[in-house]
Subunit: 378 residues, 4 copies
Amino acid sequence: MVGYKFMGKAHSHAYKDVNMFFDMDAEVVMKAICGRDEEGVKAAADKFGWDGYETDWRKLVARDDIDFIDINAPSDAHKEIALAAIAAGKHVFCEKPLALNLSDAREMLEAAEKAGVKHGICFNYRFLPAVQLAKSIIDSGKLGEIHHYRATYLQDWLVDPQTPLAWRLKKEVAGSGAHGDINAHSIDLARFLIGEFDRVVGHNRTFVKERPLLTSSQGLAGQASATEKGEVTVDDATAFLADFKNGAMGIFVASRFATGRKNHNTFEIHGSKGTIRWDLERLNELEVYFREDEPELAGFRRVLATEPQHKYAGNWWPTGHIIGYEHGFVHIVYEFVQHLATNSPFAPTFADGVRCQEVLEAVDLSIERGTWVSVDEV
Amino acid sequence: MVGYKFMGKAHSHAYKDVNMFFDMDAEVVMKAICGRDEEGVKAAADKFGWDGYETDWRKLVARDDIDFIDINAPSDAHKEIALAAIAAGKHVFCEKPLALNLSDAREMLEAAEKAGVKHGICFNYRFLPAVQLAKSIIDSGKLGEIHHYRATYLQDWLVDPQTPLAWRLKKEVAGSGAHGDINAHSIDLARFLIGEFDRVVGHNRTFVKERPLLTSSQGLAGQASATEKGEVTVDDATAFLADFKNGAMGIFVASRFATGRKNHNTFEIHGSKGTIRWDLERLNELEVYFREDEPELAGFRRVLATEPQHKYAGNWWPTGHIIGYEHGFVHIVYEFVQHLATNSPFAPTFADGVRCQEVLEAVDLSIERGTWVSVDEV
Amino acid sequence: MVGYKFMGKAHSHAYKDVNMFFDMDAEVVMKAICGRDEEGVKAAADKFGWDGYETDWRKLVARDDIDFIDINAPSDAHKEIALAAIAAGKHVFCEKPLALNLSDAREMLEAAEKAGVKHGICFNYRFLPAVQLAKSIIDSGKLGEIHHYRATYLQDWLVDPQTPLAWRLKKEVAGSGAHGDINAHSIDLARFLIGEFDRVVGHNRTFVKERPLLTSSQGLAGQASATEKGEVTVDDATAFLADFKNGAMGIFVASRFATGRKNHNTFEIHGSKGTIRWDLERLNELEVYFREDEPELAGFRRVLATEPQHKYAGNWWPTGHIIGYEHGFVHIVYEFVQHLATNSPFAPTFADGVRCQEVLEAVDLSIERGTWVSVDEV
Amino acid sequence: MVGYKFMGKAHSHAYKDVNMFFDMDAEVVMKAICGRDEEGVKAAADKFGWDGYETDWRKLVARDDIDFIDINAPSDAHKEIALAAIAAGKHVFCEKPLALNLSDAREMLEAAEKAGVKHGICFNYRFLPAVQLAKSIIDSGKLGEIHHYRATYLQDWLVDPQTPLAWRLKKEVAGSGAHGDINAHSIDLARFLIGEFDRVVGHNRTFVKERPLLTSSQGLAGQASATEKGEVTVDDATAFLADFKNGAMGIFVASRFATGRKNHNTFEIHGSKGTIRWDLERLNELEVYFREDEPELAGFRRVLATEPQHKYAGNWWPTGHIIGYEHGFVHIVYEFVQHLATNSPFAPTFADGVRCQEVLEAVDLSIERGTWVSVDEV
């Protein structure tokens, strides 16, 4: 695994726990974690339960005892590492976004397909029980024809102008701001749930143009410099309208300036027969409404997706005992490792990463042009 | 009508509007309102739309042009006025509590029955659409056998020790505190929804024993005296356990010290097939749960009781346009006037007032004794 | 008053009750209601409490005993009646939309200003206590600089394809569909709360193109023809992005196809210091979040706007006793009549109706063009 | 560790993950898990990550390489194992209830104190961030004097009469039903948050007296016998009133018949200055209300206890990324292991287990007697 910060911790936890809660056709062995700072990566290896560590990802990629590589380093490093891993015949599991731009993402997909290695991208929210339930409701036809899709992904960690200039705020490292970081999740969920985008039109803002430099690299929690400032080169917020290929209307908004909203990743989907609504801050719950209920008794149901019937839920605790954010990673790792072991179907792959990137770039192009842009055009 | 303060306003509004929203077999004519303070009652008559006023209820009772008397004066006056009205052959509609104690309440019921006049007591919450829906769900058997009944009626207007000593805090005028004022509503709703009480055991508190005297009599909003204090002679809060005759377990709590709860009149009823929950602060909504729903899709439904199918709702606005607190008075007045005009069935009557009083007094007796008390015993 | 259906009932109720709950400098006298169908309007006059009725609005306008005219007939009649009333020197209070299109609306505004009569438009939601609280929070600076405005107005009465072709679905009578009917409310609230629109881009849908004809004209509740169908000539749903002149980003969606949402008129406003959220289905509540709260205790507060401190709330019931949809009409009528009587400031006027229409038409133009459209351009 | 079913899994997970997320003064080494069924316990050892296993707890207790024993076998085995472990000088961490009855519990406490070993009882809910926040709010005086404590612990897994007779329904193994299993949690939380009980009075029910026997011992999920039935010898539901030593009034209800409620462990605490409310089904959230907030802006705040300021939350994920049920076990294990390693203060100990048992038995005694019972009396 390359990367040992926020995502490194979440992924490590998943590898550590997956065998305990799931019956698997392969046992995960946590060989080595990799990062440039030896002290930091060594500590992470100990803490997270890795057998060893490397400070150069090239060495990691070259090791014979490793079958697959998990890449969760900052976004600008994804492409180079992935291409090398693919070249070495390793299976690759990559954090989103796949790459800094669409052409890089396409290159990665092509390489992986050519090499015949298995590949996945970590759109972890697909794998929460309530989201799986949403998917099964839609696939069963219980919502009917889809008319509306509305998504928000709202955070507020940038509303304080003293929040320092982390790597996520620099275009050359992160590629994009709220759009690529969190709209990406919303776009993937929409594709997963109701299908492909046709065209989009958007707008964005960088509300605070300059921020204090970061004096240490301790992730999001680093100290702000009292004196030096740097330019924010990504968006603080991006919103867009979408037409889907199935005729549905869509609205998406991602912001890091949504005061009071901490991780408000929501979708609401209206169909001709019903509606569903979900919110990551209450990720165990799905609200559902069915028109076929008796009119005087119809209403939004709060389904607590912790029943044995709910996918993955039975692997954890009895009904009503909720799970948390990190469980999505355990589930996606379970599915990907099963895919490696048994060739069971797996999505999302690099192809989904590319598709997501197409929508992101179509939105950016629409902002540039001030018009609707067809996703197929980018 | 006797009384022109908070309840006088609510009742007047109901008489004023009922013909507009309901098709009735009789038209309400608002003849006269009565109160001791001529200036105050004259102003109320003008404001609320009464044809005239009286300052002595004996005169009101003696008038030939009046068919029925609405009594919403302070509780200690109910009995005398009601007995006189009954003696004069008037139909009587009385605010709760019927009287200061059970024997008075029984005397009033007996007098009304003997005289053959029609009588009602203003347990207005029965007549809200969501409560009517609760009733119809239970009566239809959709909840199955009832196991649990839990009620709260929580307010916080006394938690400030400077809140003055209003008439509602004096035993000789009000009869009781939170218990008689708001537990009375919960007891009536429980009887309406699931039936009679078997036995009870309770406890109570007067958290603040002395309060500033009221310098003017402007209802709850009067000024507190800076210097003089008086003793609070009623309970601030009363809670009790109940066994129902149908075998259900019950819990009731009423408090005027429930910080942050303004009018939190709730019930939650668990049956073998389903559950319902209601809250007066969101009085248009009923939460319902049915076990027969598919396990993976079962959940509490938030039913917005504003559909034409919901009783009384169709008389107001289109679906989703909510109604408020005072609408319950319009509905009960509608039913009572129809009862007068057409002899249609009507409850709650004085008999329900007596039943409620029995439960209240059984609880008080249980507090005195420190044991369970059978309601039939009082 | 011209009109006696849904809005006629809501307005009549307001005129009937306003003097009871508010201290006013003028007493409302309900002279006459007007409609083309004599039987219908006579019944409405009786029911709603009008002194008399007219079947020709020209006669109403000509009457000397009438100071102001309330127009709530179908939208296509607004202009002609309003111009005649203005010409007769009457003050005019008009339902929204002001007219079928922007040029008509402008003509009406110009006529009213020239004649020097007082004019108002019935954007009733401005006058709910929780919305007034939102306004006062924003004006006090407690939200800081506004970054995001998100509005929904969602209903579902058209999702059933058998719902008949009411007048609201015909462009020649209604002017517009969900856009003009309910986005209009959202646009007005946004202007009221955070100011003027700069530019917009939108999309819309008519999901069901043909519907059964209506066999009777009993409003929305009429019977559908079993055999004959007609074309729906307005939008079922319209959504748009907006840039505000103050730099805020906006998102608006109105739909009559949002299954399960009955009257889901919401706004959420993120500022640099706080956030507020409101929902018409729980119209007594305002959710507020303040960044200045201690971090470990910050959270969205559910404020129940029923305290005496909340505008208009003190005129009704004690704290915690909620009000309903129609109360907004009472409040706007109170303000407009006070405006007539004392020349107190009043908004929204016809000027606000024009401004709203400008945004509506800019959105429609953006849909035609597929690009952003400046509101000043229309 | 003795026990390898539901609690065995939860505890194992805690030992496995605690070093990853917390900086500790000792590393947990998972030596051996113990159970009577060799096949089952061997599988559990593999799955849960234990170095080895034992089939006889006497052997486990005798091992020199083990410093402390975790007991989560069925309740009837707690005492014997704990006494043996204590005799062997091991530290002991025991699932609740400590024992089947009060005298056994007291014997265990006495033995542990005499032997000078460290002891803990697994009241895991104390250790959730939102509950810790509740505690710190109360301790800081922000709620003022406590007036009311209301707790529910509601589940519905027994409402189906076909749910089989698991060990938790037999008095000789479980000691008690809903009362000892889930009221125990509520009692402990109340003691943790507001202090000791003075006196209690309660009632209970066994709604379904006979149930199908269990054909296999696969925990709660076992198969019901089609033919044989056995008697349920514990309560399905128990509710009680309480007076606290600090003068507060309390209400507690535990039920396994609360249809629709899956794990509805809640408390609501009203003080003279504020109120807090918590619900295990949304365990990351705490609702708080402060009277000192400006009256027009006061309301229940939904605090998402995922900020770095919230105890334990910073060890997991960024703000807004929620945690689940099992995290409470990680936190209690962290505190207990730190207690072993550094002698840091730790509660709850066996003394808390005894105190909880006293309240449980006082309630049972009150049910027998039909009167209030002083907790000091038992």
